[in-house]
Protein backbone atom coordinates (compact mmCIF):
# COMPACT_ATOMS: atom_id res chain seq x y z
CA UNK A 1 0.00 0.00 0.00
CA UNK A 2 1.16 3.53 -0.72
CA UNK A 3 0.92 5.76 2.36
CA UNK A 4 1.10 9.57 2.06
CA UNK A 5 1.54 12.25 4.73
CA UNK A 6 0.80 15.96 4.33
CA UNK A 7 1.32 19.26 6.17
CA UNK A 8 2.43 18.97 9.82
CA UNK A 9 2.15 15.17 9.78
CA UNK A 10 4.71 15.08 6.99
CA UNK A 11 6.92 17.58 8.85
CA UNK A 12 6.79 15.64 12.14
CA UNK A 13 7.36 12.25 10.52
CA UNK A 14 9.95 13.70 8.14
CA UNK A 15 8.45 11.62 5.40
CA UNK A 16 5.96 12.37 2.64
CA UNK A 17 5.45 8.90 1.21
CA UNK A 18 6.24 5.28 1.96
CA UNK A 19 5.20 1.81 0.90
CA UNK A 20 3.68 -0.38 3.59
CA UNK A 21 3.36 -4.06 2.61
CA UNK A 22 -0.24 -5.17 2.82
CA UNK A 23 -0.98 -7.97 5.30
CA UNK A 24 -4.04 -9.41 6.97
CA UNK A 25 -2.98 -7.59 10.16
CA UNK A 26 -3.10 -4.25 8.26
CA UNK A 27 -6.28 -5.13 6.39
CA UNK A 28 -8.31 -2.06 7.37
CA UNK A 29 -7.71 1.58 8.31
CA UNK A 30 -8.26 1.03 12.06
CA UNK A 31 -5.52 -1.64 12.08
CA UNK A 32 -3.21 0.57 10.02
CA UNK A 33 -3.65 3.47 12.46
CA UNK A 34 -3.01 1.16 15.46
CA UNK A 35 0.18 -0.08 13.81
CA UNK A 36 1.24 3.51 13.02
CA UNK A 37 0.97 4.45 16.72
CA UNK A 38 3.33 1.60 17.60
CA UNK A 39 6.14 2.67 15.25
CA UNK A 40 7.90 5.06 17.62
CA UNK A 41 7.55 8.40 19.45
CA UNK A 42 6.99 10.61 16.36
CA UNK A 43 4.30 8.28 15.01
CA UNK A 44 2.73 7.91 18.45
CA UNK A 45 2.52 11.69 18.75
CA UNK A 46 1.14 12.28 15.25
CA UNK A 47 -1.59 9.67 15.69
CA UNK A 48 -2.34 10.44 19.35
CA UNK A 49 -5.29 12.74 18.59
CA UNK A 50 -7.30 11.32 15.72
CA UNK A 51 -9.66 14.31 15.90
CA UNK A 52 -7.05 16.29 13.97
CA UNK A 53 -6.09 13.58 11.49
CA UNK A 54 -8.10 13.09 8.31
CA UNK A 55 -7.85 9.89 6.29
CA UNK A 56 -8.33 9.43 2.55
CA UNK A 57 -8.30 6.07 0.77
CA UNK A 58 -7.69 6.24 -2.97
CA UNK A 59 -8.11 10.00 -2.78
CA UNK A 60 -11.56 9.89 -1.18
CA UNK A 61 -12.25 10.99 2.40
CA UNK A 62 -13.24 8.13 4.67
CA UNK A 63 -14.86 8.06 8.09
CA UNK A 64 -15.10 4.94 10.22
CA UNK A 65 -13.18 1.79 9.42
CA UNK A 66 -12.53 0.87 5.79
CA UNK A 67 -11.08 -2.35 4.33
CA UNK A 68 -7.70 -1.96 2.60
CA UNK A 69 -6.12 -3.94 -0.18
CA UNK A 70 -2.69 -4.27 -1.79
CA UNK A 71 -2.90 -1.41 -4.30
CA UNK A 72 -4.66 1.15 -2.14
CA UNK A 73 -3.34 4.67 -1.61
CA UNK A 74 -3.86 5.81 1.98
CA UNK A 75 -3.28 9.46 2.97
CA UNK A 76 -3.08 11.01 6.44
CA UNK A 77 -3.40 14.77 6.82
CA UNK A 78 -4.77 17.52 9.08
CA UNK A 79 -8.07 19.36 8.46
CA UNK A 80 -7.72 21.35 5.26
CA UNK A 81 -7.03 25.10 5.31
CA UNK A 82 -7.01 26.23 1.67
CA UNK A 83 -9.04 28.92 -0.04
Amino acid sequence: MKVLYFAWLKAKLQMNEETVPWSKELGDTDSLVRWMKSRGPAFAEVFSDLEVVRIAVNQEYITGNVTLSENDEVAFFPPVTGG
Binding site: F6, W8, V52, V80, G82, G83
Partner: protein, 156 residues
Protein backbone atom coordinates in the same frame (compact mmCIF):
# COMPACT_ATOMS: atom_id res chain seq x y z
CA UNK B 1 -13.59 24.05 -15.04
CA UNK B 2 -10.94 23.70 -12.38
CA UNK B 3 -7.21 24.47 -12.36
CA UNK B 4 -4.51 23.89 -9.76
CA UNK B 5 -1.37 25.86 -10.49
CA UNK B 6 1.67 27.63 -9.04
CA UNK B 7 1.37 30.73 -11.23
CA UNK B 8 -0.54 33.89 -10.44
CA UNK B 9 -3.77 34.32 -12.41
CA UNK B 10 -5.34 37.38 -14.01
CA UNK B 11 -9.00 37.82 -13.01
CA UNK B 12 -9.93 40.04 -15.95
CA UNK B 13 -8.44 37.58 -18.42
CA UNK B 14 -10.18 34.62 -16.79
CA UNK B 15 -13.60 36.32 -16.78
CA UNK B 16 -13.07 37.32 -20.38
CA UNK B 17 -12.02 33.82 -21.43
CA UNK B 18 -15.09 32.32 -19.80
CA UNK B 19 -17.68 34.72 -21.17
CA UNK B 20 -16.39 36.52 -24.30
CA UNK B 21 -18.68 36.41 -27.32
CA UNK B 22 -21.64 35.16 -25.30
CA UNK B 23 -24.91 37.06 -25.07
CA UNK B 24 -26.90 34.67 -22.87
CA UNK B 25 -25.13 35.47 -19.58
CA UNK B 26 -26.80 38.00 -17.29
CA UNK B 27 -24.59 37.85 -14.20
CA UNK B 28 -20.95 37.09 -13.47
CA UNK B 29 -19.66 36.84 -9.91
CA UNK B 30 -15.98 36.48 -9.11
CA UNK B 31 -14.27 35.84 -5.79
CA UNK B 32 -10.56 36.34 -5.14
CA UNK B 33 -8.91 35.20 -1.92
CA UNK B 34 -5.64 36.98 -1.11
CA UNK B 35 -2.65 36.54 1.19
CA UNK B 36 -3.32 38.85 4.15
CA UNK B 37 -0.69 40.41 6.42
CA UNK B 38 -2.58 39.39 9.56
CA UNK B 39 -4.17 36.16 10.72
CA UNK B 40 -5.62 35.52 14.17
CA UNK B 41 -3.98 38.72 15.40
CA UNK B 42 -0.44 37.77 14.32
CA UNK B 43 1.61 39.49 11.64
CA UNK B 44 2.14 37.31 8.58
CA UNK B 45 5.02 37.85 6.15
CA UNK B 46 4.40 35.09 3.63
CA UNK B 47 2.44 31.96 2.85
CA UNK B 48 3.14 28.53 1.45
CA UNK B 49 0.39 26.20 0.27
CA UNK B 50 0.80 22.46 0.13
CA UNK B 51 -1.78 20.24 -1.56
CA UNK B 52 -2.52 16.62 -2.45
CA UNK B 53 -2.06 16.32 -6.22
CA UNK B 54 -4.74 14.10 -7.68
CA UNK B 55 -7.13 14.31 -4.77
CA UNK B 56 -7.20 18.12 -4.98
CA UNK B 57 -8.46 18.05 -8.55
CA UNK B 58 -11.04 15.37 -7.73
CA UNK B 59 -12.41 17.32 -4.76
CA UNK B 60 -12.59 20.59 -6.70
CA UNK B 61 -14.42 18.82 -9.52
CA UNK B 62 -16.92 17.33 -7.07
CA UNK B 63 -17.57 20.72 -5.49
CA UNK B 64 -18.03 22.35 -8.89
CA UNK B 65 -20.40 19.56 -9.97
CA UNK B 66 -22.45 20.05 -6.80
CA UNK B 67 -22.74 23.80 -7.48
CA UNK B 68 -23.85 23.20 -11.05
CA UNK B 69 -26.55 20.81 -9.86
CA UNK B 70 -27.85 23.22 -7.23
CA UNK B 71 -27.83 26.46 -9.21
CA UNK B 72 -28.44 27.49 -12.80
CA UNK B 73 -24.88 28.13 -13.97
CA UNK B 74 -23.74 28.61 -17.55
CA UNK B 75 -20.04 28.67 -16.68
CA UNK B 76 -17.94 28.14 -13.60
CA UNK B 77 -14.23 28.22 -12.89
CA UNK B 78 -12.13 27.45 -9.83
CA UNK B 79 -8.40 28.25 -9.86
CA UNK B 80 -6.39 27.42 -6.74
CA UNK B 81 -2.69 28.12 -6.41
CA UNK B 82 -0.10 26.16 -4.45
CA UNK B 83 3.53 26.85 -3.50
CA UNK B 84 5.04 30.03 -2.05
CA UNK B 85 3.12 33.31 -2.14
CA UNK B 86 3.85 36.87 -1.08
CA UNK B 87 1.52 39.22 0.80
CA UNK B 88 -1.26 40.62 -1.36
CA UNK B 89 -0.99 37.83 -3.93
CA UNK B 90 -4.15 36.00 -5.01
CA UNK B 91 -4.55 32.41 -3.73
CA UNK B 92 -7.86 31.33 -5.16
CA UNK B 93 -10.29 32.48 -7.83
CA UNK B 94 -13.90 31.43 -8.28
CA UNK B 95 -16.05 32.65 -11.17
CA UNK B 96 -19.72 31.83 -11.78
CA UNK B 97 -21.87 32.91 -14.72
CA UNK B 98 -25.66 32.61 -14.77
CA UNK B 99 -28.73 34.20 -16.32
CA UNK B 100 -29.65 35.31 -12.76
CA UNK B 101 -27.63 37.22 -10.18
CA UNK B 102 -28.93 35.20 -7.23
CA UNK B 103 -27.63 31.96 -8.71
CA UNK B 104 -24.26 33.48 -9.56
CA UNK B 105 -23.85 34.97 -6.06
CA UNK B 106 -24.99 31.93 -4.09
CA UNK B 107 -23.04 29.43 -6.19
CA UNK B 108 -19.80 31.43 -5.84
CA UNK B 109 -20.28 31.74 -2.08
CA UNK B 110 -21.04 28.02 -1.84
CA UNK B 111 -17.98 27.08 -3.91
CA UNK B 112 -15.73 29.06 -1.57
CA UNK B 113 -17.35 27.72 1.61
CA UNK B 114 -17.09 24.10 0.50
CA UNK B 115 -13.62 24.46 -0.98
CA UNK B 116 -12.42 25.83 2.38
CA UNK B 117 -13.41 22.65 4.24
CA UNK B 118 -13.07 19.98 1.54
CA UNK B 119 -10.24 20.72 -0.90
CA UNK B 120 -6.95 19.23 0.39
CA UNK B 121 -4.81 22.35 0.71
CA UNK B 122 -2.79 23.29 3.77
CA UNK B 123 -1.48 26.77 4.54
CA UNK B 124 1.84 27.38 6.26
CA UNK B 125 2.32 30.96 7.39
CA UNK B 126 5.63 32.73 7.89
CA UNK B 127 5.43 35.32 10.65
CA UNK B 128 7.47 38.35 11.60
CA UNK B 129 9.67 36.33 14.03
CA UNK B 130 10.80 34.10 11.18
CA UNK B 131 8.64 31.28 12.53
CA UNK B 132 6.44 29.05 10.40
CA UNK B 133 3.02 27.87 11.52
CA UNK B 134 0.54 25.52 9.97
CA UNK B 135 -2.77 27.37 9.84
CA UNK B 136 -5.46 25.82 12.03
CA UNK B 137 -8.94 24.82 10.95
CA UNK B 138 -11.54 27.49 11.75
CA UNK B 139 -14.85 26.84 13.45
CA UNK B 140 -16.37 29.62 11.33
CA UNK B 141 -15.38 27.84 8.12
CA UNK B 142 -17.09 24.65 9.25
CA UNK B 143 -20.25 26.55 10.11
CA UNK B 144 -20.16 28.37 6.78
CA UNK B 145 -19.84 25.07 4.91
CA UNK B 146 -22.63 23.41 6.91
CA UNK B 147 -25.03 26.19 6.01
CA UNK B 148 -25.13 24.66 2.52
CA UNK B 149 -25.46 21.07 3.62
CA UNK B 150 -29.16 20.71 2.88
CA UNK B 151 -29.86 19.72 -0.69
CA UNK B 152 -32.08 22.67 -1.49
CA UNK B 153 -30.64 25.95 -2.66
CA UNK B 154 -32.81 27.92 -0.28
CA UNK B 155 -31.12 29.05 2.88
CA UNK B 156 -32.75 28.29 6.18
Amino acid sequence: MIRVQRDIFDVGKEIDGLTRGRTDIGAIVSFIGLVRDFNDGAEVTGLSLEHYPGMTEKELEKIEKEARERWELQESLIIHRHGDMSLGEPIVLVITASPHRKDAFEAAHFLMDWLKTKAPFWKREMNADGQENWVKEREGDLMAANRWSSKTNERS
